[in-house]
Symmetry: none
Subunit: 398 residues, 2 copies
């Protein structure tokens, strides 16, 4: 990291990082083609042969990345060094200020029957419903701690616990599988004992408060953490960076590393419009597309294909802006076949006037990227490559 | 490093490392082919399909290497751990002995008008002219320090300051851009305060001494450093290594890591003759070809192509010697399109009886090497690969 910080220089170049969340996939049984390989992507296919392509490991070979570490990697941080609780990300994305004593966590509304979780997402209740339930939870009072409950999207919400002597090393209550009871939350160190106690009390009260709800009658708590002390991309790379993302968590993550989060609409077209309108004002843009991941998590191969095809349609609008460096990739793989994040390396395409061109590649896909000139590398090296191709890194040594 | 040191064993094998400085390139606008891909290189092309090929990052992905760290990497050292000032390299290449209290720096003769540098290289004055000017500078006396000024090539020279209490953490006077005044040199630590003062005094006196020169009327000083304490390739790898290089800096670098520098003529043919004559006497030969880099730095695509074609012509003479391991590569990329060193990984070809053969490759070039069996790796791993293919590394563990 310090190497890049020492070498980083400013110039007028523009960099765009387009992240299709969970882009990487696995072959369809019938065709042998992944979601990306199945999608009709004439624009990305043409671009691949004019770009440097490769595959990226989000964390390290074989390790499946959560969204937090996966994005930290894309932004040039070593995700093994900076572990950020998802609660913190959610809280930041909801514009909640996190003080140094505050602990954030994330909750799911869930459906419980006979003390067993039967739906960890309470049927993905609508966001408005989530807001109503969060108001109910806000009535819970625990002595010595200020509690803020804020709805996120669908069944998701975040809680910030503010109080003296709180520490965030607390285990989840989410058992991660249906058919099990919520787990008792436990402190992983002495300093977190108070927080664990508060969390268990809160979960008990929540059960009472939600008892009369037909669907979302329980909460699952996870991702307890404090905001980490992290150096910003501005300080590290001398860039003014902007994030264009519709999902709170990704906005939170971007904010955490010092990006400005630009307000945008909920569609891809709106995100690209936001990019275009703000193109003059920043050096680096992180654009996040969520629905590749959620369709993968739902095991919906065809829908993931469709989302990728929709992204392909906006590629010309981005190229029209003539960014000096344009990268298309994912934060991790989410193969529909696995219905979850996976460890498979993620295809990446880097387009720049200063880049070599993999003219032997005919399309943008996992198989083709495996033959690309960038080889297989660590996601945390992507920022260095982007800065280099933007000619923003000075020479190392004489 | 210690792994190799522990495993290295002696045998009778011969290794040859042929480095075309700045070999890696970028595609020509009209053809989409790099300098190496454009060059007619029938010998290297045939060799590629009978060798293991790949791409190497000189330092790390995205980081552009200076010549010093780039060569350290090729010799198996981690360039991030061993930073060597260019002044030290120049001084060593000029056969100047560096004691442990000596500080070396590098100077450029430059052209100054109205206190602004208008040409950082004084029109690349001839080497003889440089020698004359160095004599002028040698008249400068500063109390308590012995000063040796030695001409290098063209506008370049080196100075060694010998005296008690000198330390080399001093900033450059070279502003790196034309149109600016020379910078005041500053000590980066207390121990270097004396050296900084001497350097500034020397620069002032040099201005006076050169005042009547029409072109080279100023010097720019940079790369202050002491010789680092570095373990030799002999100690590390149990090899007797020789360097065949026409440029002083590369001879200096080879000497620094414990290679013997064999006197040679200034042409490529002469270098190969030197190799042939000394082939029986060493285990490892480092042959350096400079003009690929200088033509790249001049932005002269065609001349770089021609230099590569000239190198191709001597390949059969090297193969006739039947080295056990023969590597052809560069220390870094210097694309004519960028007129400077760049971060792009460097093509590498490793030929050995013990090597796999990339029979699917039809030529030696960046695109083909991207598809080679060595993949993309760090230059500092090349020495291990050479030793291994020479069967000079014992098994690790039982």
């Amino acid at each position: 990291m310090n190497v890049l910080k020492d070498l980083a220089i400013k110039n007028d170049s523009k960099m765009v990082l387009l992240v299709m969340d969970g882009l990487g996939g696995l072959p369809h049984e019938d065709t042998g083609l992944t979601e990306l390989e199945t999608a009709k992507t004439p624009n990305l296919d043409a671009l691949a042969g004019q770009s440097s392509c490769g595959l990226m490991h989000p964390i390290m070979p074989g390790v499946t990345a959560g969204s937090g570490p996966a994005h930290l990697g894309l932004f040039g941080y070593d995700p093994l060094e900076h572990n950020i609780g998802r609660g913190v990300l959610s809280a930041l994305g909801l514009n909640l200020d996190l003080g140094k004593d505050d602990v954030a966590c994330r909750i799911n509304f869930a459906t419980m029957r006979d003390n067993k979780i039967v739906d960890r997402r309470a049927g993905r209740i609508p966001t408005e419903e989530c807001a109503r339930l969060c108001k109910k939870l806000s009535t819970i009072e625990i002595e010595g701690v200020e509690i803020t409950v804020v709805p996120e999207m669908q069944h998701r919400a975040a809680i910030v616990f503010r109080g003296q002597g709180l520490s965030g090393r607390v285990t989840d209550s989410d058992p991660q599988k249906e058919g099990l009871a919520p787990l008792k939350m436990e402190a992983l160190d002495e300093a977190s004992a108070k927080m664990a106690e508060i969390a268990n009390t809160f979960a008990d009260r929540a059960k009472d408060v939600l008892a009369d709800e037909p669907v979302a009658n329980m909460i699952l708590m996870r991702g307890f953490d404090k905001a980490p002390d992290i150096e910003t991309v501005g300080d590290l790379y001398k860039i003014k960076a902007a994030a264009i993302a519709t999902y709170p968590m990704y906005r939170g993550l971007a904010k955490l590393v010092g990006m400005e989060v630009i307000p945008t609409g909920s569609t891809l077209e709106s995100e690209i419009e936001t990019l275009s309108e703000n193109f003059a004002d920043y050096d680096y843009f992180f654009i996040h597309v969520k629905y590749t991941d959620s369709s993968g998590e739902d095991g919906d191969f065809d829908r993931k294909v469709k989302v990728i095809e929709e992204v392909d349609l906006v590629i010309p609008s981005i190229l029209e802006l003539n960014p000096d460096v344009f990268v298309v990739t994912g934060d991790h793989s989410t193969p529909a076949a696995l219905k979850s994040h996976s460890w498979h390396p993620v295809p990446v395409l880097l387009h720049a006037k200063t880049a070599r061109r993999d003219s032997w590649l005919s399309s943008f896909g996992e198989g083709q990227c495996a033959q690309g000139s960038l080889g297989t590398f660590m996601a945390r090296d992507l920022m260095a490559l982007m800065l280099a191709h933007a000619q923003r890194l000075a020479k190392f040594g004489a």
